[in-house]
Amino acid sequence: MNDAFGRPASVLVLGGTSDIARALVRQLTAGGTDKVLLAGRDQARLDEAVDEARAAGAGSVATLLFDARNVAGAPGVVDSAFAEAGRVDLVVVAVGLLVDNETEERDPAKVAECVAVNFAWPAAALTRVAEHFRTQGSGRAVVLSSVAGVRVRRANYVYGSAKAGLDEFARNLHQALTGSGAGVTVVRPGFVHSKMTLGRPSAPMSTTPDAVATDIVRGLENGAEVVWSPGKLRAVFLALQLLPEPLWRRLPG
């Protein structure tokens, strides 16, 4: 069960090798979360994450393989995860794929893959997760969105628009779950130094996976529906969203 501080006893991570998810699992298990199920695409990297979770204090850690490019398989993945874990208090949706607009924005296959991994698969999976939560009468989903989806930029529009879709979906799923005992927390990190952004130029107010994880844990404690990381991005993007389109288009990057 989630305790008074929103801390789960058991956690399922969809995208268990993501740096932010790994940092979150380290913090949760260090704080008492006992049961961890990590689902991902790469068994070798999942095994690394398993060792990390054990070292941080998890009592039971298991893994599950899946490929987020297979959207039709999403409900099956969620069902087997719940069958394996029993009651799940927290589901972290951390699947994601960054595309390079310069080389890939004109490749329909790549664009479709980006939309599938960043939006279609998570939306399908969350729909199934919500059904399990309704039966459980409790549960929390943490969905990793991005500031890239808050106002989408030309330079990153393929990834940004997919995240924008996921962000809207997850926030409204939270509304749909009102009264069910379950809820959704949307996380909007800024530029995070991680394996996903390796080799890309850093943006202002960049952050680290550990800092994002700390903000998520605080958000769970406060029952926040949206977590910005770092928190000051909330004010920055409030201003950016009010910017007229012609000005927005002229911003660098």
Binding site: A4, R7, E131, T135, G137, S138, G179, G181, G223
Partner: protein
């Protein structure tokens, strides 16, 4: 997907709860439930049976997959009376009160009767409830399940000691249980947080009083040592005692507070209006907080200001005559005071440590100050000997109860550190207040858990009984799941 329902109606049925449908069986209703601290809500099907046989029917039908637990007035602070995705048996219709035996004070009461109602029935006849927690809005079933204590614990023990028999509905049938006939089941039920079954009826022994007034001595003490010594001193001459602590005070004034010690006033001690109204019940009227406070309203500065004012307004006084409702249940005047903590809610942390570990009391106040966690209410009390219940909270020594708004980032780690300190000296925290304890430390604090689980297996072999609390702490059947 299977629906956790007893009736064959759809899960979303919004009918009035407890009203019989055409088939004569009460319907359940899906509801969000949380404890008095308003943290960790979960949804369950709630069923309010009309009578004990309805409780038995419900228990015989429910599957073990989702769990079932009783709920009275929802005054446990944490997750003891909720069962996510399962069935919650609301005892509100088990509301009969028999006649009070004029010789012994014994009375047969339904589990859903509140202490408030029992008091209003008893007082005009000169009978008071044997143990009174800080609120009257507690059901008899809940008072037994949490084995509640009051300001008279040092003299009279906890609630279970004043129950001579009870009827317990379990998944393997209904039993008449008494301390003589089946002591294991009786004492596991007292303090067992509802995990042995649903109490449907109990025989409670009331206390004979001459008046509904108290003769109270109040002492103001400027530091914790003086306050604790005074508590030790007054217990010999007073049936009731408790101390309020200003947890904002630091340094030399750390742990300063007010001590209230009282006895029931006799008729000869009353004069004037009070003598004419010697057995008056508490006022019926309660105020309500109109809206939740904004999150910033409760912070170290406002709490310290309130504490300062409260401390200064109460000089030491001897032998004041006060009505028992103000002495026992000051917070009942505000029907829903728990909403002042806003959306995030609050936790109450109550622990007990042995007499020789009074330093833990001092340490806990300092520790929460260092962690910058405001304490909105702190109550200190001495316990006498505990009763035989394996999960009953009281052990002889010092108990401190702290109301802590959720919000300060340091609160959770601070309480985890206090858990370890308390467990290390053989103390424990109170499950009726808990919403956050770690399962391993729980086992250290309650070393007789195995005895309790053996009783649970006897009456509930399929493991149908369970609550969010039993899941979180991995009690009984939940350990294997």
């Amino acid at each position: 997907m299977p629906k956790p329902l007893l009736t064959d109606r759809p899960a979303a049925s919004k009918s009035t709860e407890g009203t019989p449908n055409k088939a004569g069986a009460p319907e359940s209703e899906d509801r969000m439930l949380f404890g008095w601290g308003r943290t960790a809500p979960s949804r369950a099907s709630v069923l309010a049976p009309e009578d004990p046989s309805g409780v038995s029917r419900a228990l015989s039908l429910v599957g073990s997959a989702r769990g079932v637990i009783a709920r009275g007035l929802g005054r446990s602070y944490g997750d003891a009376a909720q069962c996510a995705g399962g069935l919650v048996i609301d005892t509100r219709h088990l509301d009969t009160i028999g006649g009070i035996d004029p010789e012994t004070g014994d009375v047969e009461v339904g589990a859903g009767v509140s202490l408030d109602r029992l008091l209003r029935v008893g007082l005009p006849q000169g009978w008071f409830i044997p143990v009174s927690p800080g609120t009257r809005q507690v059901s008899i079933g809940g008072a037994i399940a949490a084995d509640v204590h009051g300001k008279n614990h040092h003299a009279d023990g906890s609630f279970g000691a004043h129950v001579s028999a009870l009827t317990l509905s379990t998944p393997s049938g209904a039993f008449e249980v008494s301390p003589d006939a089946d002591p294991d089941l009786f004492w596991s039920t007292a303090g067992g947080m509802g995990l042995t079954g649903v109490v449907t009826r109990a025989r409670v022994r009331m206390r004979r009083v001459e008046t509904s007034w108290m003769r109270v001595d109040t002492e103001r003490h400027g530091d914790i040592d003086s306050l604790m010594s005074a508590l030790e001193r007054v217990d010999a001459e007073h049936r009731y005692s408790v101390a309020w602590i200003d947890c904002s005070a630091r340094g030399r004034r750390l742990g300063r507070g007010l001590l209230d010690a009282g006895n029931h006033a006799t008729v000869s001690e009353l004069t004037g209006r009070r003598a004419r109204r010697r057995l008056d019940p508490p006022p019926e009227r309660t105020l309500r907080v109109p809206f939740p406070a904004p999150p910033l309203a409760i912070n170290p500065v406002t709490v310290a200001a309130f504490n300062e004012a409260w401390y200064l307004k109460s000089p030491s006084r001897r032998a004041q005559i006060r009505h028992l409702s103000g002495f026992f249940h000051p917070l009942d005047a505000l029907g829903n005071w728990n909403v002042v903590f806003g959306r995030r809610g609050f936790v109450q942390y109550q622990f007990v440590v042995g007499d020789e570990h009074r330093d833990v009391v001092v340490h806990s106040i300092e520790h929460l100050q260092r962690a910058r966690c405001p304490v909105t209410l702190a109550v200190l009390k001495r316990f006498g000997p505990g009763d035989p219940g394996p999960l009953s909270f009281p052990i002889p020594g010092w108990t401190l109860a702290l109301d802590l708004p959720v919000g300060p980032p340091g609160l959770r780690p601070a309480l985890q550190a206090l858990d370890r300190t308390v467990a290390n000296v053989g103390g424990r925290v109170y499950l009726a207040k808990d919403a956050r304890l770690d399962p391993e430390l729980f086992r250290t604090m309650y070393p007789r858990l195995d005895e309790f689980e053996a009783v649970c297996r006897r009456v509930d072999p399929r493991g149908a009984l369970g609550s969010d609390l039993s899941r979180r702490l991995q009690i009984g059947a939940e350990r294997a799941r």
